[in-house]
Every structure is written in structure tokens, then in C-alpha cells.
């Protein structure tokens, strides 16, 4: 109750500082003193320490001296006292607020105000803080060592910032993947039509990191190891000296192939990408997905932003995933798209296999669809 009464007193103290005339600061100081005494008497002793009071007196004396030199002694004394009272008032108000409100109270307030998402954001920020502090320390330490001193390291600080920001981005993507799996995503449209409890493997890794190869090897292992039929498509890349120049699409049952996309000059691509797409490639992929039978494992390789926006292979994929009796599904996707894919699929039972982190990624993928008695 006393704390609640202190709030208007402290606000009135701040307002009084803006009142015209010389009596404003005196009133403000008395109001701040009363507010602090009501909120927590210890604040007065804690805030008005010798160092602060001496500093305020010094500033006031300096002001008084300057004003007296340019005007009169009366004016100098009046201004000196005003400054002293203003400094002490601001110190008392900020000191009281600082001792009365803490982080937990703020977070609880956000929760009570119905800002659930804010609560999650604050929680995640707090959880990642130790890791981020470690990262900053390590990156700065290695930069300092490599640069041969603090000053030289400072010159290369933009490079450090780039590394740290990219690391924070990866951390945020991982957190988003975990959030999507725990159903914490914000739903904006219908999911892709995945049956509840359908086992899903998401294969991920960097571009050119071996995702398609791992998926193709896993398809063989699933077929041979468990006798399970597999249908769908893979999209091997065609590489040139400047990276990936085109994508092919291959039907996993018939082996038929077609060109799906070719890279073009920047700004001339379709769907916001650097590629132009062929209707023939999409048609072949749709036919491959139509071959998925009950009891089969569905494979869709190298899904991209086009699919996650609902275009490309997504309509055919939705239809295939809606068929009853599927054994499971394997999708491959670039690392930064994993959270969006999991959220789009509403996948509650997903295993993420990272090709550059697993010793035998194909076996890890296949193991999910092969019984305990298999030779994998």
C-alpha cells in the first residue's frame, strides 16, 4: 500500500522539476523524499551517499561561482541551491524506482497483461544469454590472438560482428525449429495435411553438402533393409564453376528425369529466386508423388522457399500426404528453412538429420522406417 502511495509522489516530484519559479526544485525534493521514505526508507540512505552528495555540492558550487561572476552573488546562490536540489531529486526518484522494480516483476507484468509471446521472447533471450556471452568472449579472444593485440583486433571488429550476427541467426533458427516441434508457432493457414503421428525425417545441411546423396542412399537402405516401398522424387543439382546451375528432378520409382530449374542472371529469376522453372519438371514430380501407395515412405527432396510459400511442389505434396496409410515421409531442406518446414507441416513427430553432423546420415534416415530387427 505504501509503495502504491509512493508512485504519485515520485511522479509529482518529477513534474515539479518543470515548474517555473525558484520554489519548484524545493517542492520536488520534498516530494521525492516523501515518496522514497514511503516506498523504502533504505533508499534514502543508499542513494544519498557521500560521493553523490559531494559531487552535487561541487557542481552546485561551480554553478554558483560562474553565475556570481557573470551576474550577482544572490543569483549565484539561488542557482547553486536549485541545481543541488534538482540533482538530489533525480537521484532519489531513480534510486527508488531501481530498488522497487526488478526484471521478474516486469516479466510477470507482461504475462498478466496477456503478452504471452513477449514472455516466451524474454525466456528465450534469458536462456541464450550465457551462450551468447561465451560466444562473444571466444570470438573476441580468438580475434585478439590472431590480430596480435586489442587495437588491431578493434580494426577488424566488423568481421567479428558479422561472425557473431551469423552465429546468432543460426541459434535463432535452431530455437525456431524447437519451437515449431513444440507447437509454439503462430498459425496463419492450414498445415500441409500431414497425418497425426506420421514419422517424418527432415534431412538438412548446407547447399552442396550431400543432402540428395544421403536421401538416395537412404532410399536404397529402406527398400533393401526393410522391404518398404519408397516413392517420390529427388532433385540432384547440376554444378558449374559458379555453383549450382540447374536442378533435375528424378522419379524414385521409374527413374525418369527432367530439368526443373535453370539459374539465370540476378533479377531475372522467378518466385523471388535466381532460377526459372520448367512446367515439365513440376509435372514429373507430381506424377512421382501420385505413385505413393499406402504403406510407402514418401520422399520429397530439396524443398525450397517456393514450396514453403505454398507453390511449386506443394499442391501435389499436400495431396500425396493426405493419402491414408503412409509409412512415413522424408524431406530435405536447407538448414535455415527447417523451422518453416516443420511449422508448415505441423510435424509433431520429426527427426532432423544434419548431413554434415552425422557419421552415416543415410543410415540415420533409414533407421526411422526400419524395424528393430533390420540389419541397419
Amino acid at each position: 500500500m505504501k509503495r502504491i502511495l509512493a508512485v504519485p509522489l515520485l511522479l509529482a516530484a518529477l513534474a515539479a522539476l518543470f515548474l517555473p519559479g525558484s520554489w519548484g526544485p524545493g517542492t520536488a525534493f520534498l516530494l521525492a523524499l516523501a515518496g522514497a521514505a514511503l516506498a523504502d526508507p533504505g533508499v534514502i540512505r543508499g542513494t544519498l551517499r557521500a560521493g553523490l552528495v559531494l559531487g552535487a555540492v561541487f557542481a552546485a558550487a561551480l554553478t554558483a561561482g560562474v553565475a556570481a561572476a557573470w551576474s550577482s552573488w544572490g543569483m549565484g546562490t539561488s542557482l547553486g541551491v536549485e541545481l543541488l536540489l534538482r540533482i538530489l531529486t533525480v537521484a532519489l526518484v531513480t534510486g527508488t524506482v531501481a530498488r522497487s522494480v526488478d526484471g521478474e516483476r516486469l516479466a510477470a507484468l507482461a504475462g498478466r497483461a496477456g503478452l504471452g509471446r513477449l514472455g516466451q521472447v524474454l525466456g528465450l533471450a534469458l536462456n541464450t544469454l550465457p551462450h551468447l556471452l561465451d560466444t562473444l568472449d571466444q570470438v573476441w579472444g580468438s580475434l585478439r590472438l590472431r590480430s596480435g593485440g586489442r587495437l588491431r583486433a578493434l580494426v577488424r571488429a566488423p568481421r567479428l560482428a558479422e561472425v557473431v550476427l551469423a552465429h546468432a541467426g543460426r541459434l535463432a533458427d535452431e530455437a525456431a525449429g524447437a519451437a515449431a516441434l513444440r507447437g509454439l508457432a503462430v498459425r496463419r493457414s492450414a498445415p500441409a495435411g500431414l497425418a497425426r503421428g506420421l514419422p517424418v525425417v527432415v534431412v538438412t545441411g548446407p547447399g552442396g553438402g550431400g543432402k540428395t546423396t544421403a536421401v538416395e542412399e537412404a532410399v536404397e537402405l529402406i527398400r533393401r533393409g526393410a522391404g518398404v516401398s519408397v516413392a517420390g522424387f529427388v532433385q540432384p543439382g547440376m554444378w558449374g564453376k559458379d555453383g549450382r546451375e540447374a536442378f533435375r528432378v528424378r522419379d524414385l520409382v521409374t527413374g525418369d528425369e527432367a530439368i526443373l530449374a535453370r539459374r539465370v542472371e540476378r533479377g531475372r529469376g522467378e518466385h523471388g529466386t535466381r532460377f526459372v522453372f520448367s512446367g515439365e519438371g513440376f509435372a514429373l514430380a507430381a506424377r512421382a508423388l501420385a505413385r505413393v501407395q499406402p504403406g510407402a515412405v514418401l520422399v520429397a527432396d530439396e524443398l525450397g522457399p517456393v514450396e514453403l510459400r505454398g507453390g511449386g511442389h506443394m499442391p501435389a505434396l499436400r495431396e500425396a500426404l493426405g493419402r491414408p496409410g503412409l509409412r512415413g515421409a522424408v524431406f530435405s531442406v536447407r538448414r535455415h528453412l527447417v523451422p518453416a518446414l516443420l511449422a508448415a507441416l505441423d510435424a509433431a513427430d520429426a527427426t532432423v538429420v544434419t548431413v554434415d553432423g552425422a557419421a552415416a546420415p543415410a543410415r540415420e534416415i533409414a533407421r526411422r522406417f526400419c524395424g528393430g530387427g533390420s540389419s541397419l
Binding site: L17, V66, A67, W70, S71, L79, L83, R86, I87, V90, T94, V97, A98, V101, D102, L106, A110, R117, Q120, V121, L122, G123, L124, A125, L129, L132, L133, L136, D137, P158, A161, E162, L165, A168, G169, L171, A172, D173, A175, A176, A179, A185, V186, S189, P206, G207, G243, R244, F247, E302, G304, V306, R309, G310, R334, H336, P339, A340, A343, D346
Partner: protein
Amino acid sequence: MSDPRPWTWAAVFGGLWGALEMTAGTALKLARIPLSGALMAALALVILVTLRRLQPTAGVCLLAGAAAVFLKVLALGGVFPGPLVAMGVEAVMVEGVFLVVGSRAVAAALAGALVLVWGLLQMVGMVWLVAGLRVLASWGEALGGLAGRVGTGGISPGVLLSLVAGLHAAAGAAAGLGAWRMAGRVGRRLRGASR
């Protein structure tokens, strides 16, 4: 499509901002390095612009600002209005400019200019709050007298403040543009050349 990335990015980038305030901010303050406030504002700008460029969703900067303020409160052990107001206003300014102008380099430059000028204005505001108009006028009179004696009496305090604000704005715009370019490089690091 549902995508939790905007809020997880906001949380982690807010956490990064909070971590920088705890480490670099504290070190700069203890070392009493001049313009440390402007330096920290520039670092915050880099984080916010990168976040807004890579996650162009309305409100991400506000969430990141809330997370950073929350961590700062925990680090300081209480609500100290000065730095918290500065951080909150920086987040609001970057978000506001990007909302109005769109996710473009010019928005980053404008946001940078506003953020650094705000730092200066907040300092002037604090001096006004603590010292009051009468004391400020008295100091101005004394400085004007001194300036007259050294032959620079023609420069009024208002002109001087505008000059300093202009310098802050120019530095802020440059920092904003640099942050925009850095955000592009960070995006390329994260994405590679995906289709």
C-alpha cells in the same frame, strides 16, 4: 504458413544486444570512454537493422528491444531509466522507420541518423531535467561571454547544438548504411546461394 522464426530471431538478437550492453557497455562506461553512448547506440543499430533485414516482420525490433531492456534490468539489478529509455526508444525508432519507409537501405540510413541524434537529445534532456532552464541559461551566458573573448561570439548555443546534431546524424546514417550492408553479408553467410 506458420513460422516461429520472427520471434525466435527477435529473442536471440535481443539477447545479443543485452549481452553487448553487459560486456562492452559496462567496459566502456567503466573506462569513461567519450561518446560511449553513441558507440553503444551504433552497435544496437547494427543488431536491429540486421534483424529487420533478415526477418522483415513488423514488430521484431520492438520484441528485441523488450528482450534487451529486460536483460539490462536484470544486469543492473533494477530499473535505471536513462539507459532503458535510450534502448527502448532506439528499438521504437528503427521499427517505426522500417514500417514507414519499408525494408530498404534508405530506411537503415534514416534510422541510424535518428538513433544517434536521439542519444544527443536525451543527453540534453537529462541535463535540462537535472540542471533546469535557469542554470542552463546561466551556463549559456557564461559560455557566450567566454566565446566573445576568444572571438567566436557569433556562434550561439543553438547553432552549436545543431552542428553537433548534424554530425551525429551523418555518423548515424553512415552506421545505418554499414549495418544494412553487413546484414546482407550475414544473410549470404546463412543462406548461401539457395534457390
